[in-house]
Amino acid sequence: MHKSSSRQGLILALGTVAALLLLKPSMVLADYESEFIPFPEVTVHYNDQDVPNLKQHGSTPLVDFFFTAKYNNNWRLLSELLISDDERDLERLIIGRVAANGKQLWLGRNHTDYDQWNRLFHRETYLQTTIHRPSIIEFEDDGGILPGHITGISMEDDGEVGGRTVNYGFTIGLGPTLKRAHLIPLDLLNINQGPHDLAVTARLSVQTLGENIKDSGLFAGHTTIPSESPGIQEVRQTVLGAYTNYAQTDNLVWRASVFYVANNLGLSGGIKRNESFGYAYLQPEYDLNPAWTFYGRLETSTGTSNDIYVQQIPAFISERSLIGTRYQLQNNQVIKFELAKVDQYGKRFVSTEMQWSAALP
């Protein structure tokens, strides 16, 4: 995670929290409704090796303050402010219109259309079955190598085809910049950081309602990533992929995705270089009963080890296999245990993690 040293950013962050708290009583106004949900979490980890750039053991507390307001049934505001010991980030801030027929139009900083995690869980690990996202869809400050945020316009719509819901989404705006070994999206708390260029993502999916939203879909995107990494001036990145949530039975769900990423690198001296890599994961989840879920995940990639672009982001996990369990303590608290074999920072190690998370109150 990168450190935002901006005192101005912190003041704005705390001011936003205070404003959100003050807005809460105005729920009683006619045609206005709001929800304020803090999502706290604490993750404790132990690695069997001392990996450079990672603490061998430690704990990470974090709170994601989620706030949403609805005005006149259709107008919505959504925001997520994430605060941890080394990060203060306005993850999402969008204002838009949601019609009863499913049409959505948003303006602001939103998550991209890649894969299913952004749409289903956003930053709320409490809602996820696992502790971490698959590494390919990890957020930028946690070693993600694809844009996780776009600041601009996004839209979504759906329609009925043969008893199923066909849903599509599209986002266009400013993407991230590559520097300090991370992708850095446009920071709404420190807006003057770095150059940002055009990013476009799109998704088409088929959904059915049920205990889990069962859906399968295709996604694609193209981003021009300005770079301040030594030797790289620009990356033109194209992403193609497919995902599925396949509920085999009421208790067993398979989540899976495949990605193909092509990077056109603009190197120093006007040299161009084309690279590409693939990535896939498979995650079965088994609900023993409403409280206990057992899961596993296998993540693998091909072509990443010698990829110049991927080498710029060493926190990216190129391979991981894990098993774990999620225990719902009450209706608003969860404990997860995970044992993972990880390939990160050029090292292979075993990591044990426990996480408590909640949706308050």
């Binding site: 609805k70 919505r76 959504l78 009863a100 749409r119 956003h122 205990e211 409403p290």
Partner: protein, 151 residues
């Protein structure tokens, strides 16, 4: 003439049986404000509504209200409408509000407050025992969810 007392007794017994039938059966019904002029909802609309997905009927955007006043009623609601466990249902509603914002359906622990809210807010739909709304013309029953014996 000699059969009249027998006929009278038979009718009396039949009446008793029929009254005992209605007293020993109760229905869980879907209701809304009569002013809303909604007569029915499809199973898919009901499912979507209680999953927190906006449903439009006429000029109204419908809103679900959750009846938490009776654990047995809520259990039937979870089985017949939400099709999921209580924990999964709450997780789903949370996930939905994270995605599209707005507000999760309001939860009522008191049936009388719930019924008054439905009455005052055309477009609000909830699930109640039919006995709780007996004789009320300001509410419309738009569907039956379950029928069973009184405990």
């Amino acid at each position: 003439m000699k059969y009249v007392p027998f006929l009278f007794l038979t009718l009396l017994l039949l009446g008793e049986t029929s009254s005992a039938d209605s007293d020993s059966t109760r229905r869980l019904v879907l209701v809304t404000c009569a002013q809303a002029e909604i007569t029915s909802l499809s199973p898919s609309e009901i499912h979507q509504l209680f999953l927190g997905i906006p449903v439009e009927k006429g000029n109204l955007t419908l809103e679900a209200a959750i009846n938490h006043s009776d654990p047995f009623l809520y259990e039937i609601f979870l089985q017949k409408i939400a099709n999921m466990s209580s924990m999964s249902y709450e997780r789903h509603l949370l996930s939905n509000v994270i995605q599209v914002g707005g507000q999760r359906p309001r939860v009522f622990n008191d049936a009388r407050t719930l019924i008054n809210t439905v009455k005052q807010n055309p477009g609000t739909v909830t699930v109640v025992w039919d006995s709780d709304i007996k004789g009320r013309s300001d509410l419309t029953v738009i569907g039956e969810i379950w029928r069973g014996p009184v405990d």
